[in-house]
Amino acid sequence: MEPTVAAQLRAIRRLVDEAGADAGLGEAAAQALTLASSQLRRLEGAQAARLPFLVEDNRAAAALLAELAELVADLAPPEPSPADPEAATSEAAAASRNDALRELLARAVHELPADAAGDAARARVAELLRARLARNPALNRPPRSGAERTGTP
């Protein structure tokens, strides 16, 4: 359905960029508009991909947790509620489930046994997390300049 969220975000960013190009702006106002524009650009790129990313990440994390449950007690992942018709399509529901699953992964890292089987399981967690980093639409965006790249003081 038009206008899409992405199209509206683009339009808002155009307005912000036009306002920011005004040579008469003070330094603080110009910086604020630059910041707003960069955040809009980031949102434009990430918003459409967010729900599919969460659904796929939840599937992968739940599958791994089911395997790890053989090594760690009470690690069974929560099931999406069948009574909730929005569970599969709502971003809020998917994000909430993602938090729950990542909490279980965080616990597993510490509670897996300190032996070869535990180490192998942790390596699988690391593999899953690396794949997640590569897919995460909120984190994968065009590089910024200078110190912004590392986001340090």
Partner: protein, 336 residues
């Protein structure tokens, strides 16, 4: 805060410190955007001292409402005051508003030193020979920090000496910040924590650690390194910590020059200047800690953003988390 308001507050602040007969006047106030963790205002102050007019160019560093770091201006003031007794070129500190009662937020007033900061000067447009020479002098500056006699300077009254446990103490400190600020689970950081704890090196000596040593925190004047700025992360610890920070894979463009000033060149020059043997394993551990610390700072920044205390959106990045996982994997592999 507007320029007018900060000027008025600064004049009242100087009156309280210098006495009403000093009749302090504040001019040329303007905010500078350099520095990502503090709100910095430059100004000129003029006052009377025994009938004579005194002028100084000063800078006030105010705490922002939120951001990457929450550090204590009173501690930074104590560090800078103590360093005046050493050969370390730290900025001269003048006054402290520790609780922000006078300047609106906790603030530090320092002398404005001459020079410009350039994060990427080592990979700038200058001739290669000059850039390598500058890299060697920056290394010498770090050595001056590590060689500072912190006991005589009184820094033992400001910080605890972590001794051989510097690595685990520092890791625990950043874990505490993570626990305070994280809004969601980060299994990536749990993996890193577990690996770093298991692989932590022991420290052979305690020195003053700057904590954020980089060209971007050094004032350059006619190409010469001058004052070293931004002491808010300084503490006592293992010298390998600063070496790990400046050789971390994510910031090579700030510290190294491909083919001319590589990691091994830097470490060998440091060994030559100090006469201390650098433990390459320890440097790799501190490389990983540098990434962990960066991720935690980004998480603090994210919390500030979500709570409306900071306008810039921070988030642990793919580069930081991915590099951290790789480095910890290597350390754990070496330990196995």
């Amino acid at each position: 805060m507007s320029e007018r308001e900060i000027r008025s507050r600064l004049e009242a602040f100087l009156r309280s410190r210098l006495g009403p007969s000093a009749a302090p006047r504040v001019d040329a106030v303007h905010r500078v955007s350099v520095g990502r963790s503090r709100e910095n205002w430059l100004f000129d102050a003029t006052w009377l001292d025994g009938g004579a007019e005194v002028s100084e160019s000063l800078i006030v560093r105010r705490d922002p409402l939120g951001g990457l770091l929450e550090t204590d201006r009173a501690v930074e003031y104590a560090v800078l005051a103590a360093l005046q007794a050493t050969a370390v070129p730290a900025p001269a500190v003048r006054w402290l508003d520790g609780d922000g009662a006078e300047l609106g937020r906790p603030s530090l007033v320092m002398v404005r030193e001459p020079g410009e900061c350039d994060y990427f000067v080592l990979n700038g447009e200058g001739p290669l020979g000059e850039r390598v020479s500058l890299a060697r002098r920056l290394c010498a500056l770090l050595v001056a920090v590590h060689r500072a006699d912190w006991v005589s300077a009184g820094l033992g009254d400001v910080f605890d000496d972590p001794g051989p446990d510097a690595a685990t103490v520092e890791l625990a400190g950043w874990e505490a910040i993570l626990r305070r600020d994280q809004l969601e689970p980060y299994p990536e950081l749990e993996l890193a924590l577990r690996g770093l704890r298991a692989a932590a090196p022991r420290s052979a000596r305690t020195v003053v650690v700057h904590g954020d040593f980089k060209a971007g925190n050094v004032l350059l004047r006619d190409g010469e390194p001058g004052t070293l700025l931004d002491w808010e992360l300084a503490h006592l610890g293992d010298p390998h910590e600063d070496l790990g920070w400046i050789t971390q894979p994510l910031r090579t463009r700030e510290h190294l020059i491909a083919g001319a000033w590589e990691r091994d060149d830097l470490l060998a020059h440091y060994e030559e200047l100090t006469g201390w043997e650098v433990d390459r394993y320890a440097v790799r551990w501190w490389n990983a800690l540098a990434c962990f610390k960066t991720a935690v700072m980004q998480i603090s920044g994210l919390r500030s953003y979500v709570e409306g205390r900071c306008d810039e959106l921070y988030q642990p990045t793919v580069a930081v988390l991915g590099t951290l996982l790789d480095l910890v994997d290597e350390l754990v592999g070496e330990q196995a």
